[in-house]
Structures are given as C-alpha cells and as structure tokens.
Symmetry: C2
Subunit: 210 residues, 2 copies
Amino acid sequence: MNYTKIIDISWPISPEMTAYKDKNIVFFNRTKTFDHDHVREALVTIGTHSGTHIDAPAHFLATGATIDQQPLAPLVGLCRVLDLTHCIEKITTQDLVLHDIKPGERILCKTRNSDVEPTACFNPAFVFIDKTASEYLASCKILAVGIDYLGVERGQPNHETHIVLLGAGIAVIEGLRLAAVQPGAYDLICLPLLMNGLDGAPARAILLQR
Amino acid sequence: MNYTKIIDISWPISPEMTAYKDKNIVFFNRTKTFDHDHVREALVTIGTHSGTHIDAPAHFLATGATIDQQPLAPLVGLCRVLDLTHCIEKITTQDLVLHDIKPGERILCKTRNSDVEPTACFNPAFVFIDKTASEYLASCKILAVGIDYLGVERGQPNHETHIVLLGAGIAVIEGLRLAAVQPGAYDLICLPLLMNGLDGAPARAILLQR
C-alpha cells in the first residue's frame, strides 16, 4: 500500500464530544486504574450514531441490512473530497452537478460544518444533503457518501435523504472531520466496528494521501 | 489502492461474544425500534479490550500514551501472517526465528486460537506470546504484532510480554480472527476507535489481498 501520509478524519470520542441535539450518551468508566491495579481498563458507553459512524440500512429501512452485513468495499478505496464550503443551509443537486460525479465514486462533502470544535454545542442549522441532492447521488450510482456532521439531513419530515441513499445501497458516513483536508483525491478507509445486528456503528476513518 | 479482496479479521461484537475470563461486559440497548419509532438506534457498552482491539501503552505502562495518541502507520500497511498453528502452549523465540523477521514488519500470529467460535467460552489455555518471544520481536524492531485471542499473554505474573512490546513502541493488536486466512503477505488495516485518554480501544481489522 503506497501512501505518503495518513490523515485522520475521525471525530474524537469523549463524554464531552458534540452529541446530536446535545443528548450526551457517551460515558467512560475507568474500571481499573494504574495507581490501584497497576493496569488501566475502561468501559465505554457509546451510541451507534455517535461521532464518526456508518448508518446501516436498518437505521431507516424496515427490512434493511444491519451494520455487520455492510460491505466494506464501498468504504475502502479511491475517494474524492468535494469543496462545498460555499453551501450555507444545505447541499442541493446544483451544488453537486458541477463536480462531474461518476459511477463507483466515493464522495466526501466538506462543508463549513467542519469549522467547529469537536466538543462544541450541537448546531441545529448544520449543512445537510437535501432530498434532491440525495436523488442525484443515487442516480450517479456512487458507492459511498460522507458528511462532516452528525447527520446527512435535518428538517426533512420523512427522512428522505437517508431513505434515498440507504435504499440505493450507498454507504452513508456521518461525523467526519474535514477542516484540515484539502479537496481532491485520496484513498479512503472507513471501518465501522463489527457489531452484530445493529443499525449502525462508530467507525475510524482515515484518508491516505498518495 | 489496489486489492482483489477484503478479508475481515475482526471479532464479531455482541453480548454473547467471548469475553476475557468469561466476564461479559458488552451490552446492546436498542433505544429506538422500527415498530415503535420508525427508526432504529442503539446504545452499546463495550470494554476497551473487548474483541478485536489495540492495547495502548497506557494499558500497562505508568506514563504510557493513550489510544488517541497511538500512531496509525504501524497499523496500516504491508504485513505478514505467520503460521504458528503448531504451537500448543505458547509462542517462543524458537518458533519465530525461522521466519526471518525484519525491521519495520507487521507480524500477525495465526495459532490454533483461531479455531474456536467467536462466542465460545473463554479458553484459559490460549496460545500466547511468551516473554522471550516478545524480546525477540522487540529486537527485530517490528512495527506491530497481532494475535488471534483476547490477550498476547497469560500466566506471566509481571505482564512481561505486554511491557516489553508496549515499552518498545510496538503496536499490540489482540482479538484477531485468522482461521480463514492463509499465511503470507497482505496489506493490514487495523483502525481503533479514536477514544480520548483511554488505555485501548475496540478496532475493525481487515486484510487486503493483492
């Protein structure tokens, strides 16, 4: 595997990390400490949608696959980071058509969402992918789409963006951190924990610079 | 990134998964269900050393680095899976010298540990890396070592194997599943969750076949 640099695009996990609608559900319990036990161990409580994570189809589809059934090939390979920092409210089809997206691409959307600290309060006005843009991405037959906030959508009552993307078999990566990443081509590796039967899982995501 | 196949070498995570000394600490709490909420979500409790995971130096070293400080380069790149299935009790220096291990290698030890089901009872007689072998690996200046059970050692009162490996700056990968893997060369990708300040973290690990 050839690369010159690993760029970590994962959201640091802690009890203080930004949580969807500020509902903090991450806890660390240090069950063994060095002073007491000469070893350190901890128990972690975390949501399937905390920080950087993959949404399995089962998140929003009645008979959707669970995260242990998620193929990994869409999450491992050439990707493109798009500069969408001009989008104020949402990403629409218009914002994407300029980028000449091809079948089989992995697309990461860099927006102004990435500008915040990883422990900032939840931003209810985060930039999201609207229904039209999700339909466009599905028509492009991409393999995966990632966004730099804790959801790919907000304020769409029937969760159309999720349902269109997951229904089209597109891997959905949420909670990326792209502030330090220049738009362009990289190798993406995004590996969710292998959790049996669940609707999603926390992941570590990196870009390899060639 | 060129590969012909992704081989998942991760331990499936579930409340029923094998736990060290059978102390089950993994729990799934399905907080939203499709029937009730039209969305699925879950809360997961997991140990920093459950299933496939990385031991940070802080696990056993007083002033060791925590998992968020773990460099990823030792966990991403060319590796070699060694056939050590002949070892009955433990892996010793003698078992390793035959393999002509070079500086900068990533070494995964395939043993008979991999033969068990991922939900089997804990095997207190698992094959481990003894102190002499850990010193040999440190002298070889390898980048990472992995084993196919929940610990790299057992029954050594001062945890010498952990302390030698972590003290030498070698990344320690535990809980791999190698039954389906032919010994030989692959690209390894093992990504632990980015957990601030903890002594280890669950990881997803894959091999890329060229």
